[in-house]
């Protein structure tokens, strides 16, 4: 791969997002329960790379995305964008960051203020970036063309409820792209859409990313979707990275037991496809009360005694990194 040489655009080092939960009463009792939404996540993203963040709800993938966009402040670790720590960004520097890093929201029906027309919605970022009002309309029209909303002028003075889900999600994408960012985080952008229009939105995402050379993170629980848009995949479970590597390798030969389960669970539209039993225990991750050692061990079919004693760290295994004692040959 040629990207190996380019410097990372984003580097995340031991990022943490811990919440205290349970309110004032349990705080008085001394040790309030802590939810570790993101717990020691480390990875870098090269310029132009597309990375999928894969995992079940509660695994911290969305929190990770919100940290990257400064919608949430990390409680530990450091996130650097183009060499600068984003936690330290203030004033003009923050403004500049806001125009370079963008978010595509999951629910298009919620991500646009219902009181605003499409024109008003798309004007907001331009206004904040100081684009003179005379230029705004042209910018809006051209970005709507970019996301393939045909004859965009007819939508400018419409309200969100007059657009379909697919059209709205294109507007959400247009808002993210209008300031020509370098980096975009997309949080399950098609999960609220009908299957028949999902493909259109995904295709726009892919094409625009290629055309603008965007660095992108795509958050999803469905590996088939991640595979469609990302060359690299990071699998998360209970706030930690389980596996990180090229998507194709992960699809064809998942290493971590959790990744294996995710791969096996991907829904397939082909009735002739045989299905193996899911290699994962029942139950769901409980973020308030994760197991000791490896957080996945209570659902893992291969768990052995070391897993409860020792937290597995990410180690290089061939083309990728895996956090599992099964792949640690050092002991």
């Amino acid at each position: 791969m040629t990207m190996q040489t380019s410097a990372p655009l984003i580097s995340i080092e031991d990022a943490r997002l811990h919440y205290k939960v349970g309110g004032a009463l349990s705080a008085l009792r001394g040790n309030p329960p802590v939810v570790k939404a993101v717990d020691g996540v480390t990875f870098t993203i090269r310029r132009g790379e597309s990375v999928g963040l894969l995992g079940e709800s509660g695994c911290g993938k969305t929190s990770m995305g919100r940290l990257l966009l400064k919608l949430e402040e990390a409680t530990g670790g450091a996130i650097r964008f183009d060499g600068e720590k984003i936690a330290d960004l203030r004033g003009q520097a923050l403004k500049r960051y806001r125009s370079r890093a963008q978010f595509i929201f999951q629910n298009p029906f919620d991500a646009i203020n219902p009181r605003f027309t499409i024109r008003q919605t798309l004007s907001e970022p331009l206004e904040n970036a100081g684009v003179p009002s005379a230029e705004r309309e042209a910018r809006i029209v051209s970005v709507l063309e970019l996301v393939r909303l045909p004859e965009p002028r007819q939508y400018l003075d419409r309200y969100p409820h007059q657009l379909s889900g697919g059209q709205l999600q294109r507007v959400v994408m247009a808002r993210a792209l209008i300031l020509e960012p370098d980096f975009v985080v997309a949080d399950e952008p098609v999960s609220m859409l009908d299957v028949s229009v999902r493909a259109g939105v995904l295709n726009v995402f892919r094409d625009v990313r290629d055309r603008l050379g965007l660095t992108a993170i795509y958050i999803s629980h469905d590996l088939a979707l991640v595979r469609y848009v990302c060359e690299r995949t990071i699998v998360m479970y209970l706030g930690k990275v389980m596996e990180d590597g090229p998507t194709e390798d992960i699809v064809h030969e998942p290493l971590h037991p959790y990744t294996k389960a995710l791969v096996a669970a991907v829904p397939v539209p082909d009735p002739n496809q045989s299905h193996d039993a899911l290699p994962i225990g029942r139950g769901a991750p409980d973020p308030r009360n994760p197991p000791s050692g490896c957080v996945f061990r209570d659902r893992c079919p291969h768990a052995f005694d070391r897993c409860s004693r020792e937290v597995p760290h990410l180690r290089q295994t061939g083309t990728r990194h895996v956090a599992c004692h099964l792949f640690d040959r050092t002991e």
Partner: protein, 299 residues
Amino acid sequence: MLDAAVERKPSLIGRMFRSLRLPLNDPFAVLGLLIYAVFVLTAIFADQIAPYDPTEILYTPDYNLAADLRPGEDGYILGTTSLGRDIFSQIVHGSRSALLIGITAAFMVALIGSIVGLVSGYFRGWVDVILMRLADIAFGIPFLPFVIVLAAFLEPSIWNVVIAMALVLWRDTARVIRSQVLTLRSRGYVDAARVAGSSDLKIILRHIAPNILPLSFLYGSIAIGWAILTEASISFLGFGDPQSISWGYMLQDAFASQALAKQAYYWFVPPGICIILVVSAGFFITRGYENILFPKLGR
């Protein structure tokens, strides 16, 4: 549903008016608004409507005090008081102080409550903690005794009620608006505005405040009734402003002059009705707003 396809961008005033969302399809609310309209007009044109100065002591043509006249006697529409003042003129002028108090109190309550609620709910953290503890303190203050104490410290004045309401009653508005802001804050479009680089102030003014405006109005319209009722109680208890004529003062005057024993119903029934009308008008409008804001409560 509005067919906004043909709708052009409305003017700023039009937009503000629309975001108030006056409850015009609720018959009770319309009745309430009509009652308000009548009282507001009466208050504005009080000098033209009232035949006499409400504090003027009147005499009969034969130079006797025109006291305790019955309605209609000597052309006094609602009769006169024991001191020879025209009751109808007092009613008309009473609307002035009632509305003055009601509207300023409502404005203060809605304004303070909204600002506190917005700031508290939007910024959270220690600002929220401090403001909400202040609200808890305000919740602990018994309202009527507080007004009386205030009247004792300050000169007796109709403004005491307004000050007391501003100091105490913002708490309800602030609490409700805060919780509304908390849910609005977690909406996707608020996050989107932040990612788009909008400042906190801009987000509050553009994306959050318009959504809580109807709530401010709801609590404002509740406060109008409260203020008028409180002023009446205070005046009736004798802590009111003796210089200004209000409906509460009229009740107190009638009570002190033993109007009931004299069967002078024309004296205390009209101000009573006026208080009831204005307070229930506020209630009707409140109800209309509730139907808009919490449609599931209805029916």
